[in-house]
């Protein structure tokens, strides 16, 4: 379903993704783990047509994201690392806009919207503006939105960041259910090892832009002689804390949060 061969992405001199290759099978749940700045988000951006690769080959359901972005976009659903809802629209309006952008026929759209809002426990509050939602509700709404156009592949980039354990649990339960019932392929990144351990079939550990290990959770543990996935992860990527520079967006988001009094 996802086929990546020798993918490299450079930003000037900096190599964000260095010659990585992997395949994700249809119906698989595949986790991408790595410290901050390892290249996870860059890889997701390339797979989801937002960024062209510097070199290498990418196929999403047999299609090249650079040459056929529209066809690829129709097949994928994305839940971004940071929120991407319009806070001044209601949940219903956010979904309706998304459905229109993805060419979901109006009648089908309405039915699916109702089903997804009910599934994610948001139906009662569908007409409230999203800015009145809690962090967990926004996340659920984003996931519901990502599923509205029945994607074949769902990309989840750190979907549980900042969620309480209840919402996290609910989210993964839904994702697993979707994967089992509708055969949706899932590609996820997370910092929480227990989540990857729980939901992912195979796990790739990426560091400094390279895949340092790839296999099932049991294989990774066995390879490093660790008892838990967390230990295996630290054994593979070291214990040094990664430096990251905040860009303009991060600074703005922080300022806006302070401004809204959170």
């Amino acid at each position: 379903m996802i086929d990546v061969q020798n993918l490299t992405r450079k930003f000037g001199e900096f190599v964000a993704v260095h010659d990585i290759s992997f395949q994700v099978e249809r119906g698989e749940i595949f986790a991408f783990l790595g410290p901050n700045g390892a290249g996870k988000t860059t890889t997701i951006k390339i797979l989801t047509t937002l960024l062209p690769p510097t070199s290498g080959q990418v196929r999403i359901d047999g299609l090249d994201p650079t040459r056929e972005p529209t066809a690829v976009r129709q097949r994928i659903g994305i839940v971004f690392q940071d929120p991407s809802l319009d806070q001044n629209l209601s949940a219903w309006e956010n979904l309706d806009l998304h459905g229109a952008l993805y060419h979901v026929p109006r009648k089908v759209r309405r039915e699916r919207m109702q089903r997804l809002l009910e599934l994610f426990g948001l139906w009662e509050r569908r007409d409230e503006l999203v800015k009145q939602y809690s962090g967990g509700m926004m996340r659920r709404l984003e996931i519901a939105r990502g599923l509205l156009h029945t994607p074949r592949i769902l990309f989840l980039d750190e979907p549980t960041l900042g969620l309480d354990p209840q919402s996290r649990n609910q989210l993964w339960t839904h994702v697993k259910q979707l994967n089992q019932d509708e055969g949706v392929t899932v590609f996820l990144t997370t910092h929480y090892m227990d989540e990857a351990d729980r939901v992912a079939g195979r796990i790739a550990v990426i560091d400094h832009g390279r895949i340092v290990s790839l296999g099932t959770s049991a294989e990774l543990k066995a390879q490093t002689g660790s008892a838990t996935l967390e230990e295996a992860f630290l054994a593979l990527t070291g214990t040094a804390i990664r430096e990251e520079v905040a860009d303009a967006s991060d600074q703005m988001r922080r300022a806006a949060r302070a401004w809204r009094g959170r």
């Binding site: 989801t48 047509t49 937002l50 960024l51 972005p69 529209t70 066809a71 976009r73 129709q74 994928i76 994305i78 971004f80 940071d82 929120p83 991407s84 809802l85 319009d86 806070q87 001044n88 629209l89 309006e93 309706d96 806009l97 998304h98 229109a100 952008l101 993805y102 060419h103 503006l129 939105r145 860009d247 303009a248 967006s249 600074q251 703005m252 988001r253 806006a256």
Partner: protein
């Protein structure tokens, strides 16, 4: 086409929901109309130019459209920082449609804002010369909205942060407004001001508007229309080009 419509609708909904801002934003133009329109009217009349309120009202209406369409670029930066832009850019829709939808939405709200100020001006005592000029006046307002929304989109697509946008806007907005024909007649100006007013796009928009509303255009309506029309197309193309290069 569906994408253009839904993105246009989104801008209108957001506008309709910001009632407090809408009402608050009528204050400044009202002040201009009262302080300048009534305050300078005696001097203007003594200079043999007639009623200044009548003269300045089209300028103030155009100013409103200028401000709100230029600052639509902020919404673009805002949407980019808060992720909504990304949601639209990964949709299976050509980027040009997204840009057009956003531009139409922003231009429409700027136009509505201009019509509200026109209503305020009528309350303040402004009277258009003839109803037959109103369609043409509307066309000029729409052109001003499109031209400066395109400028806002160009700047908003190029800059990443709010502070930079504010800085560029401050460098643009005030000169565009003050060096146009919004506040003073174009006759008998010193040479340098003749040059400056003629390279300011807003001059042609205001002049066309004034011609349509009170039959006091300096240039012919055809020239005003031609300049604004060409600028609308060229700047929208520039905005689309910059928008196509946004990386999120």
């Amino acid at each position: 086409m569906g994408a253009i419509y839904v993105l246009w609708l989104r801008e209108l909904k957001r506008y309709a929901r910001s009632r407090v801002q809408v009402v608050a934003s009528l204050g400044q133009p009202l002040l201009y109309l009262i302080a300048l329109g009534y305050g300078l009217s005696p001097v203007f009349r003594r200079g043999g130019e007639g009623n200044y309120l009548e003269f300045v009202a089209p300028g103030v209406i155009a100013m409103t459209v200028l401000f709100s369409s230029l600052f639509s670029g902020i919404q673009l930066i805002w949407d980019r920082q808060f992720g909504f832009l990304k949601e639209t850019l990964v949709a299976p829709v050509p980027r040009l449609h997204i840009m057009i939808g956003r531009t139409c939405g922003a231009a429409s709200t700027a136009l509505i804002q201009g019509l509200l100020v026109a209503a305020v001006a009528v309350v303040a005592g402004f009277r258009p010369a003839a109803a037959s000029g109103l369609p043409l006046a509307f066309a000029f307002l729409a052109l001003i909205a499109v031209v400066f929304t395109a400028v806002g989109t160009t700047v908003g697509s190029t800059l990443r942060d709010m502070q930079g946008f504010q800085m560029v806007m401050n460098l643009l907005v005030m000169p565009i407004f003050f060096l146009s024909s919004a506040l003073f007649p174009l006759d008998h100006l010193p040479g340098f001001l003749v040059v400056l007013t003629r390279i300011d796009p807003l001059t042609y928009g205001v002049d066309g508007l004034r011609g349509a509303l009170i039959a006091r255009g300096h240039f012919s309506a055809v020239l005003d229309l031609a300049v604004m029309g060409v600028l609308a197309v060229a700047l929208t193309a520039l905005g689309a080009w910059r928008f196509a290069r946004i990386e999120v």
